[in-house]
Symmetry: C2
Subunit: 797 residues, 2 copies
C-alpha cells in the first residue's frame, strides 16, 4: 500500500505538535476501542500484567473498521475546533461502535450523558465492561450513542441520512463515512446523486468520506478492487471531486488526512460562497475524500500464523481465544500497550492534555451537537384550522372529492407557512402530482440542481418537494431530516412502500430505543401517505397491488406505530393534522386519490378520528337502544363505500333487519388494550361490535390481519372478514372488489349467510345478489366498464 | 436534440433497403402499440374513419416508453437475424407493454402462444381490444407476454435479472433496456457492478441499453440531465464503454442504432474471444448503448396547446378525451395514420413482407427464445442420498452440530456434481462463510473478475458462489438465473432479507401467474436459507433481529409459498433436499448456524419433514392412547430446544402430567386445508393439538402469526403462543429468550398457569421457575454469560 498519498493541496500548514496531538488522540481512541471489545473493568489502564480474568468471557464487536473511524473522528475534531464548524458525522460502518463510543468518552459527552461513566480510570473500566455486555450497551453506533443519528447495522443508508440532515441546515456540515462494504448496496449506490438535489444556498454541505479498507466480512470489496482511475471516474460521474488519502504509516496519513480535510472544507466554503454571495447557479462539484487504510489497522499483523491486519480476518475480533490461549493473551497485551497508554492517560485514567488538544468544546463536540439530537431543535408546525380546507358535506354519500387533492391544499398551506422556517419537506418517488398533491407547487417547487429545459414545470433550485425515483433515497432523506429536528411526509404508492420495509424496521427500532432514553428529545413522526392503493391500479394491475405494508408495520413495537385508514376526504384531513402534530411514531396513512364519496362533515370527521372507530348511525338501521342483528364493519375508503352500498341494499330489501355500521379509522383500536396504547378494552370492543352478533368486516388489506388483531375478542368466532386475497390484474375498480369478494353484493350475501334466520326468508335477495354479480361479469367483458348502477351509485339513506 | 449521433463505427454497412425495412417494422410496432392503448376491435386497420365507438371507454397504458422499446426490439430483430444470435431482452420499462406485445404479434410468437390472436386483421382487433381490458391482458410486459422474464412494474431489477440470465449461458446475449427512471433506483444503480462478477468464459454477455427519454412520471430524470461527459464518466466508472445514439429523426436514428448494435456486438464477440481463445484474464470493458430519443416519440407533438411529445406528458395516454372530444379523436386518427398502416399491413391485416424482413425465425425470435421460458431448459439437480451427509443421532438431544455447516457439505456435493453442467449457484451478501456454508469452496470459488491480492481466499474467475453486499443484487441475479431454467439458493441474514421484501412480492406474483399459464414450464423454486437469525445476534443486537419475513411471505398466494423451520441438522438436510427438488415456489427455510442439539436421525427427520408437523413421542409423557393434559408445541431450532428443556423439567417435577410435544417444520400445516395446499384438515389438527387442551406454542417469530394461521381451529381459545416480541439487544442467547418470555422456565410457568388443576399443586415449581429466572438476571449482569445449567443443558429423557 502506498503511504500517505493525497492529492489535496494543504490549505493550512499543520504543525508537528498538532500532528502529534492528533496521533495521541487517535491512539487513545484505538486503545479504548480495543479495551471495549476485550476487557472487563478490572485492569483498564494495564497497571498490572494482563490476565485471563481481565478479559470478557464473550468477545463481541467489530474491530476492523474501528481504527478508520477513529482516524476520521480525530481529524473531524481538529477541523471543527480550528474552524468553529457546526458539524455532525454519520458513521456508515456503525457496527464500529467501539470507535464512536471511545471518541464520545474522550470528548466528555459520554460522561455528560451517562454520568456514571466518568472520564477517569473507573469510568474507563465501566466503559469497557458495558460494551456488548448483557445489560450494557449495544455493539453498534446505536441510539444510545451520543452524537449519532444512524445505527449502521443494516447497511446502505448513511449517505441518504447525511443529505437529509443537511437539507435546510445551511450552516451545517454533515460528514459521512461510507464503508466500502456499504458502498455496494443499492440504496447507497444511488444516494450519491443527492448532490443533484442539494441547494448550496439553503442547505448545508455533505462531505462523504469513502473509507476503502478493502474488505467486507470475508470478501474484498468491489470499490477497493477497481483501478483508482476507474473509481475516480465513478465518483466524478456521481458529481463529486475526489481527494485521496492512502496509507498505512500513521504519521504520513495524519498529515495527508489533515490536508485533505482542509482542502475539502475550503472547497465547500468556496462553493457555498459562490452560490450564496455570487449567485452562481452552477451545480457544485462537491469534494469527496477517498480514505484507503488497512482493515484492522494497528491491530495484530498475524494471528496463529495467518495475516490479520489489512485483511478480512480483522473484521470482528482478531484474537478469539484470549482467555484460553496464552499466546493470544500476550498478543492482546502487546497490542494494547502498543498505543502507549501511559502517555495517553494519567495515573487516574484521565486523558492527558495532548490527547484532548484537538477537541472542540461545548456543543461543537460531535457527541454534543444538537442536530444529532434533533428533538432539541424541533418546533411545532404552524398548522391552520382544518375548517378552511374541509369539503362541505350536506348529506353523506352524495358528493365525491379526491381526498389527496384536498389534502394537497392543506399541505400547500403548511409549505407556505414554513417558507421562512424551512422545516417541512415532502418526499416521494416522482408521485406528488400522480398522487394529486400538486397544489403544494403553489407554495414551493421540486428541489432540482441538474439541468433544466423550458418545458419543465415546478423545478426549483430552492424547492422543498423532493422527488427521485428511489423509495430508499426518499426514506433515507426524510429520516435524516426528521432525526435532525424537522418535519415531513413521504407520499408513496402503497405497493412499492415495501421497498423500504427494512428501512422502516430500522427507524422504528431507533424510535423504540430513543423513547426510553430521557436525553433523546422526541422528534417528529415519520408519516407515510400511501395512495394509489391496491383497489385502484387501473393502469398497472397486479404488480402494483399489495396492501401488506400495514401488516409489516403492525409487527413492530406497538408504542411506535400507528395505522390510519381514513374513509373520506375530511377524515383524511383530520388524520393528517394529527400525524403532523405527533412525535416519535411511524404513522401509516392509507388514502385514495380517486374521487371518493364524502361521508362526514369536518366536525364529524374530527370526532370520528378522535374515537378511531365508531358507529355510523346514519348508515345503520339499529336504533342504538338494542343490539343489532348484524354488524357491518369497514376500514378503508373502498371497503367503506362497498359496506355503505351493502347497508343500503339491506335497508331497502330487508327493512326489519337491525344493521349496525361501524367504521374503523385507527386500526390499532382493534388490538387489545394491553397490547397497544390505542387498543380498545374488551368492554369498548363488545359495545361497538357486540359480543355475539355476526360481524361482516370489509377491510382494505389482507383479511387475516383483522383476525390477528381481534382474535382475543369475545365475539371473534362471529367475525367474518373480506379483503384483498392477492387476486388482481389490470381491470376496473369494481371488478377488483368482485374478484376479491369484497363487493356490496357479496357483503349482502355474507349477511344473509351468517345472520341466523335469514337463510330462507332472504333467499330471493341472495339469488338477486348472485345474479347481479353474474351480470357484472358479462357486462364488463362486453363493455370494459363497471355496471352503471355501481359507477353512479350514491348513498340514499 | 441532436439528430442521429453515434460514436459507433459502423462495422457492417446497412443498406437503405434494410433501413427502410427496419423503419417499416418500427412503424408497424408503433401503430400496434397505439392501437392497443386506444382501440376496440371494430376498426383496427382504419379502413373506415375513426369514430368514438371504436375507442375504448377506459384509456389505460403507457405510451411514453413504447416507441423507444419498439426501436430497440426492431433493431434487436435485425442483429439476431443477421448474426444468428441467441439473444433475449429484459425490458426494464416493462410498463411499456404495448410495445413488446406488438413485437410479439409481429414476429408470430404471440399467435403461436395464443392461437386466437391471429396475425391478421381479426387478430389485430383482438390484440387491441384485450389490452388493459377486463378479462384481457395486463398493461405491462407481464408473465403472459411471450419472451419476457421481467414484469417491470416495480422498477429497479432489470439489469440484475439480465446478469442472472447471462450467468452460465456462454452462448447467450442478454440485452437489457434500462429506463432513465429505473436508473435512479438503488438496486439498479448498484447492479451495474455485475460486470465484476461476469465470467467472460462461462457466462454470456449483458448488453445494457440505457434509454434516456428524459422523464419519469412528471419529472425529468437525473441521468438525462447530467452533462454527457459526466454521464460517460459514470458509465466508465461502472466499468462500461458507452456508445451513444441520440436523435429524433427516425431515419438517422435507425442508421445510428444499427451501427451502434453492430459495434457493440462486435466488441462483445472480441472480448469473449480474448477470454475464451486467447486466455485473457483482464476484466473486459463491456459496451453500453446510451439511447437518447424523445419520450412519446412520433406521438402527438401538442395536445390542447401543451407540448406532449418529448415531455413527461407523454408518459401514459397523451390524448385523454378521445371519446368525447372530437379534436382529440381527430388527433388520434392522424397519429395512427401517420404510420401509414396501408403500407404496413395488407387488406387482411397481415404484416407485409417489408415489415417482416428484419425478423429472425423459429426459436431465434425474441418471443420464442426458450431461455425466456426457462422451464423448457430445466434439468433436475443430481442430488445425492442424504445419508451420506446426515449426522449420527444415537439418542436425541445429546450431541450438537451446526446445521448450516453440515448443509454446506451437502451443497458442496451439489456444486461438485454440477461442475460440468453449471446450473446451480449460491448467492449471498458476503455471508456464505459467516453462515458456515464454506464447505462449498471445496467445489467452487467465489465469482470475481476484479483485482486480486495474494491474501484473498476462494476468489475464482469461474466460481459459482456469488457474493456482493447487496441483497437486491443477490435476489435479482438469482431470479434471472432461475427464470432461465437453472437452480440456486440465497443465503441471507434473517433480519436483512426484508431488504428484498418487495422483490419477493414481485417474484411470487410472477409465479402465481405463470402457474396458470400452461405454456410457461415450471422453473426451480427460489430458495431462501435464512440463518444468523433473531435469537443469535450476539455480535450485533437489535438491528439484526427481525423474524418478520415469514409473515410477509405468508401473506402471498398460498399456492406459491412455503416456510420451513427445521429444528436440527438432519431435518435441515431433509428440507434442503425437498426445496431443491421443488418447482415454482418461494421456499423460506429458517435455520441456525450455531451449534444445535441433534434430535432426529436421518430417517426420523425424513419422516417428520414429510409430515410437516408431528408428535415427538420420545419427548412427551402422554402414552399416545389418551389425550394429554397439555401440549407443548414448537417451531424453530431455539424454541424447540426451550420446549424440550421445559418438557424435561415437567417430566422431572410433575411426572404424572401427560405432556405431548409437537414440533412443526412446515408452518403452512397450521393453516386450514382450504386455504393452503399444505394445511391440515381440522381432524388432523385436532388429533395432533387436541380440540380442547392447553397448547403452549413456542414459536421462532412474532407470536401472533401462529394465531393468524390457527384462529379457525377448534381449540384456538386454548392456544397460547410465545415468540419474539421485538425485544432485543446485544446479549446472550438465553437472555434473548428470557427477555421475550420464550425460555424453558417461562414455558413451564405457562403450563402451570394454563393447565387446569395445577395452580395449587404446582405452585412450588412455579416459584422455583420464577426464582431461576431471577437468578439468570443476576448471573448475567455479573458474568455476562448464561447460567451453566442452561449453557450445558442436554436432553436426558
Amino acid at each position: 500500500m502506498a503511504t500517505g498519498l493525497t492529492d489535496a493541496a494543504p490549505a493550512t500548514a499543520v504543525s508537528q505538535e498538532e500532528l502529534d496531538a492528533l496521533d495521541a488522540h487517535w491512539r487513545a481512541a484505538n486503545y479504548l476501542a480495543v479495551g471495549q471489545i476485550y476487557l472487563l473493568d478490572g485492569n483498564p489502564l494495564l497497571t498490572e500484567p494482563l490476565r485471563a480474568e481481565h478479559v470478557k468471557p464473550r468477545l463481541l464487536g467489530h474491530w476492523g473498521t474501528s481504527p478508520g473511524l477513529n482516524l476520521v473522528h480525530t481529524h473531524l475534531n481538529r477541523v471543527v475546533r480550528n474552524r468553529d464548524l457546526d458539524l455532525i458525522c454519520v458513521w456508515g460502518p456503525g457496527h464500529g461502535g467501539p470507535a464512536v463510543l471511545a471518541n464520545s468518552w474522550l470528548d466528555g459527552t459520554y460522561t455528560q450523558t451517562y454520568p456514571d461513566i466518568t472520564r477517569d480510570g473507573t469510568g474507563m473500566g465501566r466503559l469497557f465492561r458495558q460494551f456488548s455486555f448483557p445489560g450494557g450497551v449495544p455493539s453498534h453506533v446505536a441510539p444510545e450513542t451520543p452524537g449519532s443519528i444512524h445505527e449502521g447495522g443494516e447497511l446502505g443508508y448513511s449517505l441518504a441520512h447525511a443529505y437529509g440532515a443537511a437539507f435546510d441546515n445551511p450552516g451545517l456540515v454533515v460528514a459521512c463515512v461510507i464503508g466500502d462494504g456499504e458502498a455496494e448496496t443499492g440504496p447507497l449506490a444511488t444516494s450519491w446523486h443527492g448532490n443533484k438535489f442539494l441547494d448550496p444556498v439553503h442547505d448545508g454541505a455533505v462531505l462523504p468520506v469513502l473509507h476503502l479498507n478493502g474488505y467486507k466480512i470475508a470478501n474484498p470489496t468491489v470499490l477497493a478492487r477497481m483501478p483508482e482511475a476507474e473509481l475516480d471516474e465513478l465518483l466524478r460521474g456521481y458529481g463529486h471531486d475526489p481527494i485521496h488519502v492512502t496509507g498505512d504509516d500513521p504519521a504520513r496519513v495524519h498529515r495527508a488526512m489533515a490536508a485533505a480535510l482542509d482542502t475539502a472544507l475550503d472547497r465547500i466554503a468556496a462553493l457555498q460562497r459562490a452560490a450564496r454571495e455570487e449567485g452562481s447557479a452552477e451545480r457544485p462539484r462537491w469534494p469527496v475524500i477517498v480514505l484507503r487504510t488497512p482493515k484492522g489497522w494497528t491491530g495484530p499483523a498475524e494471528v496463529d500464523g495467518l495475516p490479520v491486519e489489512g485483511t478480512w480476518r480483522a473484521h470482528q475480533v482478531p484474537l478469539a481465544e484470549v482467555r484460553t490461549n496464552p499466546v493470544h493473551l500476550r498478543q492482546l497485551e502487546e497490542w494494547l500497550r502498543s498505543y502507549r497508554p501511559e502517555e495517553l492517560f494519567d495515573a487516574d485514567g484521565r486523558p492527558r492534555e495532548q490527547v484532548l488538544a484537538c477537541l472542540p468544546e461545548g456543543e461543537r463536540r460531535l457527541g454534543a451537537n444538537p442536530h444529532a439530537n434533533g428533538g432539541l431543535l424541533l418546533r411545532a408546525l404552524p398548522l391552520r384550522d382544518l375548517d378552511g380546507f374541509a369539503v362541505p358535506v350536506d348529506k353523506p354519500g352524495a358528493v365525491l372529492h379526491e381526498p389527496t387533492r384536498v389534502l394537497g391544499r392543506y399541505l400547500e398551506q403548511v409549505m407556505a407557512d414554513t417558507a421562512e422556517r424551512r422545516d417541512f419537506r415532502i418526499v416521494g418517488p416522482d408521485e406528488t402530482a400522480s398522487n394529486r398533491l400538486d397544489a403544494v407547487y403553489q407554495a414551493t417547487g421540486k428541489a432540482w440542481q441538474a439541468e433544466e429545459l423550458p418545458v419543465d414545470e415546478h423545478l426549483d433550485r430552492h424547492g422543498r418537494v423532493m422527488e427521485i425515483l428511489s423509495e430508499h433515497t426518499c426514506q433515507g432523506w426524510l429520516e435524516g431530516y426528521l432525526l435532525t429536528g424537522r418535519h415531513g411526509l413521504f407520499s408513496c404508492y402503497e405497493a412499492f412502500v415495501h421497498i423500504v420495509d427494512s428501512m422502516a424496521n430500522q427507524h422504528i427500532k431507533w424510535l423504540r430505543t430513543t423513547r426510553r432514553l430521557p436525553w433523546r428529545r422526541p422528534i417528529a413522526s415519520l408519516n407515510y401517505l400511501l395512495t394509489s392503493h391496491v383497489w385502484r391500479q387501473d393502469h398497472n394491475g397486479f404488480s402494483h397491488q399489495d396492501p401488506g405494508f400495514i401488516d409489516h408495520i403492525l409487527n413492530k413495537s406497538p408504542e411506535a406505530v400507528r395505522v390510519y385508514l381514513p374513509p373520506d376526504t375530511n377524515t383524511l384531513l383530520s388524520v393528517a393534522e394529527h400525524v403532523l402534530n405527533s412525535r416519535d411514531y411511524v404513522n401509516v396513512v392509507v388514502a385514495g386519490k380517486q374521487p371518493c364519496l364524502d361521508w362526514l362533515t369536518m366536525d364529524q370527521a374530527r370526532a370520528h378520528c378522535a374515537r378511531g372507530a365508531g358507529m355510523w348511525e346514519f348508515a345503520g338501521t339499529d336504533d342504538g337502544t338494542r343490539e343489532p342483528d348484524v354488524v357491518l364493519a369497514c376500514a378503508g375508503d373502498v371497503p367503506t363505500q362497498e359496506t355503505l352500498a351493502a347497508a343500503q341494499l339491506l335497508r331497502r330489501h330487508l327493512p326489519r333487519l337491525a344493521v349496525r355500521v361501524v367504521n374503523v379509522v385507527d386500526l390499532a383500536r382493534l388490538l387489545p388494550h394491553e397490547e397497544h396504547p390505542h387498543g380498545m378494552t374488551d368492554a369498548e370492543y363488545d359495545a361497538l361490535f357486540t359480543p355475539d352478533k355476526p360481524v361482516i368486516f370489509a377491510y382494505h388489506g389482507y383479511p387475516w390481519l383483522i383476525h390477528r388483531l381481534a382474535y382475543r375478542r369475545t365475539g371473534h368466532a362471529q367475525l367474518h372478514v373480506r379483503g384483498y386475497k392477492e387476486i388482481g390484474t389490470t381491470t376496473t375498480p369494481f371488478d377488483m372488489v368482485v374478484r376479491n369478494d369484497l363487493d356490496r353484493y357479496r357483503l349482502v350475501m355474507d349477511v344473509i349467510d351468517r345472520t341466523p334466520g335469514l337463510a330462507v326468508t332472504a333467499a330471493p335477495l341472495r339469488q338477486r345478489m348472485e345474479d347481479t354479480r353474474l351480470r357484472h361479469h358479462a357486462w364488463i367483458r362486453e363493455y370494459g366498464t363497471d355496471l352503471p348502477e355501481v359507477a353512479d351509485w350514491r348513498w340514499e339513506g
